[in-house]
Symmetry: C2
Subunit: 238 residues, 2 copies
């Protein structure tokens, strides 16, 4: 199996880095191939713009998904996008490793998705969810939080952590056809002592060891949501 | 009233820009002061890192929220952050204008939040939700989608648009104490003709004209979620 870990934390000695390293070690022990995209270390550019493309479909009006589709068809993706897309396409397992910032991903990781999840390569107009172009792959989130678990349960102050992660789970990972495995959440990390952190690292290894038996989260299917016929109007920029 | 519109679209002639301009025009007509942060035009840096701070609390280990609090107390925020935070602090109404990319904000806007929503300035450990430091302000999202409304209703393929926006509504805007007004959603924009777009611009003006009578979304309160006593352990990096 090929695994890709996309890591988004600015501090090389963070607990996120320890979680990443625990996953690398375990996956290697199991005989898998592992690649790591350490976005901060790579100084990854997170902003979608014209520089994403060597090609130009419409020089008057910049429509991101149309330029992505055009560049994908004509070999016009910028080298850093092409390289990350290659990694994604050869991965059987994708792990996203990040601290929860403002109930979501750090911008550098959102930008990895905005730029690397190229229209035409990972999804198409009728290639979503069970027909998504990344079907057959599995994906998993490993996230750290500053608040304790009781702040993230059902009915809690912050809301259920699965609801917070739903746009990512459903709108990115399942949308492109990946099976979404249950996330590993390391809670209250800034206040965990050495023992607490060791426990969470151990828990993460156990989580990964159980990967083959973890049931994926339930996600919607296009087949259950027939869409009305759409006319053939050409899309324009939002 | 002071309004701040934060705009996140790479195409100057996009429909997002038309929505932004409609809001600017209407708010000026009503006698309000309006500022616009056009993040792409500003080439806004979206990545949190050491360059965010003129001060340094801990040169060994980079903990974002501790560095933010330290810099806020000691006048050490980078000028671009300070400038945006000033705009946010003097705004009575915040409007976030963006296209829905991967069920969320474009990275450049997420990075505006990651960097400008400074710990200590907009929230504190016991200053969240109704005690958040931005209480008294109102906030509203104006978002465009590529898919039609029936893809975003309750029980739909993509899920209810309010669920998709919940991490932003609840975890950013309400978290810092702002009243969250109902969003304006312009659906299926790439496939709307000139008439459809004119209708949506009109609809947005009507939405904004009704702002004073719009009931804010219901959000959680700290008072309803008493947290157990926490020890005084010093937080460390996640």
């Amino acid at each position: 199996m090929n695994a890709l870990i996309v890591h988004a934390h600015p501090e090389p000695h963070s607990f996120n880095a320890a979680l990443r390293d625990a996953a690398v070690d375990l996956l290697l022990e199991q005989g898998h191939a592992v690649e790591v995209s350490d976005l901060y270390a790579m100084n990854f550019k997170p902003v979608v713009d014209r520089d994403d493309f060597l090609t130009c479909r419409d020089e008057e009006r910049f429509n991101v998904s149309l330029e992505q589709r055009h560049a994908h068809l004509h070999g016009g993706l910028a080298p850093d996008i092409r390289s990350e897309l290659d990694r994604l396409q050869r991965a059987d397992l994708l792990i996203l490793q990040f601290p929860l910032w403002w109930f979501g991903m750090p911008a550098i990781l959102k930008g990895w998705i905005d730029r690397v999840f190229v229209s035409g390569a990972v999804y198409g107009r009728s290639a979503m969810f069970e027909h998504g172009k990344l079907r057959g792959k599995r994906a998993m989130v490993c996230v750290t939080t500053g608040a304790p678990p009781q702040a993230f349960g059902p009915g809690s102050l912050n809301g259920d952590v699965l609801d917070l992660l739903a746009p990512l789970h459903r709108g990115v990972l399942a949308f492109t056809g990946m099976s979404v495995l249950p996330p590993y959440v390391a809670y209250h990390v800034p206040y965990a002592g050495a023992e607490g952190r060791a426990g969470m690292l151990h828990g993460y290894r156990e989580h990964l060891l159980g990967l083959e038996t973890l049931a994926p989260l339930t996600m919607p299917r296009m087949a259950d949501h027939p869409m009305p016929h759409e006319d053939g109007a050409r899309p324009r920029a939002q």
